[in-house]
C-alpha cells in the first residue's frame, strides 16, 4: 500500500478521492453500493438557507460524452439539514463537507455561521459557481471582486477549512483563484459546470425547462484539466480538481497537473462504485511506479 494521505489545510484525507456535490446525495444513497467511509471525503448536496423546490422538469439533457443539468439547488434548507441529515452523516468516519449556496452575501454568511456550529462537518465548500439559479450563484463566481467579497465575508464567520468552488465560465480562472486565496480561502475546488444548452430541433424548443443548464462529464475534462493546471500554478493553497473524471487515469492526470485531491461527479451516475475503483487504481499506479506517497505525484507534470 502506498501512502495516499493528503492534507487540505486542516483536513486529512486518507486518500485524494472525494465525491462532487450534487452527484452523491447525502452519501447514504450509496450505502448499498460500498462503504462510504473508504472515501477521502464526501461533499453533500448543495444546501441553501431556505427550502428550495428547484427548477421545473425537464432538468436534464444528455450530450456527447456529457450531460446538462438544471436542478437548481433543490434542497430542504439548513434547518432541515441540521435536524434530519446531519444526525445521519455525522456518523461517517470520513470527512463530511457541506456545499453552501446563497443568493446574497448575507445568506452565505448566515449559512456558513450555522454550519460552523456543526462539530462533525470538517469544512465547507462555498459554491459561487452554480449556473442554475436566477439569483447569486454563478454571478459571484464570474466576477473577481464579488468572489473576493463573499469569501472575505464568510471567512469572518467560518473558522474551519474553507474551500471555494470556482466557475469555469470565466476568462481568467487563475485570477479569481488568487483573489479568493487573498481573502482567506484555505483551498479552491474546480470546476463547476459550464453553462450550456440543448435544443430539440423537431419541436424547436429548449430541452431544459430553464433553457440553459450546467454541462458536466468527460466532455469537459480537457478544459477542467487545463484550468486546474493554471490555478495550481497561480495559488499556494491546495487545489481540488474535478470535471469529467471517469477513470483512474483521469484522476491521476488531475493530480499530476496539480490537484491535491479530486472529486468524482457525473461518473457516479454511470458507475456508482467508481470511486472505490479509482482509489484502488491510484494505489496500483503508485506501486507500479514505485511512488511511496501520493504527495510525490501532486503537480509532478514534467514540462
Amino acid at each position: 500500500m502506498a501512502n495516499l494521505e493528503v492534507k487540505i489545510h486542516d483536513l486529512i484525507l486518507k486518500n485524494p478521492v472525494m465525491t462532487a456535490s450534487g452527484t452523491f446525495g447525502n452519501g447514504t444513497e450509496f450505502d448499498d453500493f460500498f462503504d462510504v467511509n473508504t472515501l477521502g471525503g464526501i461533499l453533500l448536496k448543495g444546501t441553501t438557507l431556505h427550502h428550495r423546490e428547484g427548477n421545473d422538469y425537464p432538468r436534464m439533457a444528455e450530450t456527447p460524452s456529457g450531460m446538462l443539468n438544471a436542478v437548481g439547488l433543490q434542497n430542504k434548507g439548513i434547518d432541515y439539514f441540521c435536524e434530519h441529515i446531519y444526525p445521519k452523516v455525522k456518523e461517517y468516519s470520513t470527512n463530511v463537507i457541506v456545499n453552501v449556496n446563497g443568493s446574497t452575501i448575507e445568506e452565505y454568511i448566515e449559512l456558513a455561521a450555522r454550519v460552523n456550529e456543526l462539530n462533525h462537518i470538517a469544512a465547507i465548500e462555498l459554491n459561487i459557481s452554480c449556473p442554475n439559479v436566477k439569483q447569486g450563484g454563478m454571478a459571484f463566481g464570474t466576477s473577481c471582486p464579488m468572489a473576493e467579497q463573499v469569501t472575505k465575508a464568510v471567512r469572518k464567520v467560518y473558522h474551519k477549512t474553507l474551500i471555494v468552488k470556482l466557475s469555469p465560465n470565466v476568462t481568467n480562472i487563475a485570477e479569481i483563484a488568487k483573489g479568493v486565496e487573498g481573502q482567506g480561502a484555505n483551498a479552491v475546488s474546480l470546476i463547476n459546470t459550464f453553462l450550456g444548452m440543448a435544443v430539440n430541433a423537431e419541436t424547436r424548443k429548449p430541452v431544459l425547462s430553464t433553457i440553459t443548464g450546467g454541462l458536466s462529464g468527460p466532455a469537459i475534462k480537457p478544459i477542467a484539466l487545463r484550468m486546474v493546471w493554471q490555478v495550481a500554478q497561480a495559488v499556494k493553497i491546495p487545489v481540488i480538481g474535478m470535471g469529467g473524471i471517469a477513470s483512474t487515469s483521469d484522476a491521476l492526470e488531475f493530480i499530476i497537473a496539480g490537484a491535491s485531491a479530486v472529486q468524482i461527479g457525473t461518473a457516479n451516475f454511470i458507475d456508482p462504485t467508481l470511486c472505490v475503483k479509482i482509489i484502488e487504481g491510484i494505489n496500483d499506479y503508485c506501486e507500479r511506479h514505485k511512488i511511496k506517497s501520493i504527495s510525490e505525484l501532486i503537480g509532478s507534470l514534467q514540462l
Partner: protein
Amino acid sequence: MKKQVNDLLITDIRRLNHDNFLIELKSESPVGAIHPGQFVNVKAENTPSAFLRRPLSVHDINEDANTFSLLVKVVGEGTKKLSELKPGETLSVVYPLGNGFKMPSKGDRILLVGGGVGIAPMMHMARESVKNGAEVHILLGARSITDHILLDEFKQFGTIHITTDDGTLGTKGFVVNHAVLSANQSFDRIHCCGPEPMMKAVARKAREMNTECEVSLENMMACGFGVCLCCVTKTTEGNKCVCTEGPVFNINDLEWQI
C-alpha cells in the same frame, strides 16, 4: 433488496416484432426479492450519444432459473445497441430500483393497463398478483394488431382486454374507450403504465369510476437511485424523485390536471 451494480449474463435475447425485443438476464441475487414495478438501469455500450444508463422496467422474473427479463422498444441509440447484444455477453445493470406497485390482497379484483411498451412491468405484476390470490384483468392497447405482443403470456394470469387505434384487433380506439374502463365495472385498484397522455386519460376514468389508481412514470433519469434530482415530478408534497419515490405514484399524489 440491496441495490447493486453488476455485469449480468445475458441468457436469452429475442426479437418479438419490428421494434420490441426481450432480454433475459441471470441475476446474482434472488430475483424473488424484486418487487413488481421496479426497474433496472442498464449500460450497453459507451457510445457518446448514449452516455448515461437506460432505465427499463423488470418485465418478468423466473425464480427457478433466477433470471429476470426486460421488454424493450427500440427508440434511439441506447435501445438499438441493447438490441444488438448476444446471449453469452454481459450487460452492466444497476438493480433493483424504485418503489414498485402496491400489491393486491387475496380476493382483490385489479385491472392492469398497459399502452405500447408500457405493458413491460405488467407481466411481473400479473404473475405476483395471481400468486397473492387476486383476480387480474389486463387491458392492453397498441396502434395496430402487429404491435400487440405477448398476448398468450398475459392470458396465463387473467382476463385480457384489447384495443387498437386502427381497430385491427379488439376494441377500436384508445384503452379508455374500452368497456372494461367504465363506471359499471368495479375494481379494487387500477395500475397503469404507458405514454403520459394515455395515463392521464386512464387516471380521469379512474376518478370517474371512483377507483384507486397507480401510474408508473417514465421521466428522464441521470442516476436512477436518487442522487441527481433530475427526474422529479410535482406531487402534493412538492417535487419528488421518480426514480426512488416512484416510478409508481398514486394519482392522488400527483399534481396532474385531470
